[in-house]
């Protein structure tokens, strides 16, 4: 799955719903707008591992 989400944190529930329902094995997300201050736990999706690269 590929998507430019334009800020991930507020849409995490929607993204989670999509990944689980469509049984996605690998998701490519751009424009996460995540910062160091946002912990992995707040964008965690059960059953998935996140690998992030935040802007600077």
């Amino acid at each position: 799955m590929v998507c430019n989400v334009m800020s991930l944190a507020p849409k995490i529930d929607e993204v989670q719903e999509f990944l689980l329902r469509s049984d996605i094995s690998l998701a490519f997300i751009t424009e996460t707008w995540l910062k160091e201050t946002i912990a992995d736990s707040s964008v965690h999706i059960p059953g998935y591992t996140i690998i992030r690269k935040d802007r600077w």
Binding site: M1, V2, S25, I29, T30, G47, T49, I51
Partner: protein, 259 residues
Amino acid sequence: MVNNYGGVCFYLRDQSFKYQRLNDLSCCADHEILWVHLRPPRLPRGFSCLIVAVLYHPPGADDNFIREHLFNSLAAAQSIYPNCALIIAGYFNRLDVTRLKRHFQLKQIVETPTRKDAIQDLVLTHLYDHYDKPQFFPPFGLSDHNTISVSALAEMGRYLSSLDWPLLFGSLESCDALLSVFEEVIHTGLDLLMPVSKFRLNTREAPWMTQHLKDLIQKRQQAFHTKGADSVEFKFYRNLERETFVKQSFMSHVWRISL
């Protein structure tokens, strides 16, 4: 340009892959690209592993700079992991990837606009034969980019694993009955997913003499007889037929050479 935008990430389903982040492939912090090496349990024949990258190429960034980085990183990936399959996806924002595709034999599989009327979110991959056409979903929230979903072509496998085998075989006792049910199930699947199709093949003709080309020749002859050699119709079909002939015979040669 320091702001809060940008940033890329992957979500990997647990137990699907062994993964390893490849920081060596990112030359500097200026590109928003994340490289990951994956070992899925199954891969199409001929590929040793999967290298995936998610890219965000922001508006206003230097096209040549990111292209150069992609060339270097892809070349490095292929030398470290020979026969790796590549998938690079993300927001390319009008970046011209023609040379990149040609150089690394990649194919861009997204054919429908993802943002307004432009295709800006691309998927470049070696595995194009193994995936269905991408499906499109509405954007998440107020984002203006559609979501693209690509699923693997393994219809027969999915069909076979969706069956309740114990239920099918439970009531049967003899081997012959088991075999006949099994054959019936396989044939039903094959008829549904890979139906036998008929096509005509004349072994004495050149491979590029397709039915389409023959029809064009027929039309050209008719136009010649009914409208004359100087008519617009004749010239139209003559040119079309020549064009098709050259294209198809050329493609046929290319195909033979590449075998």
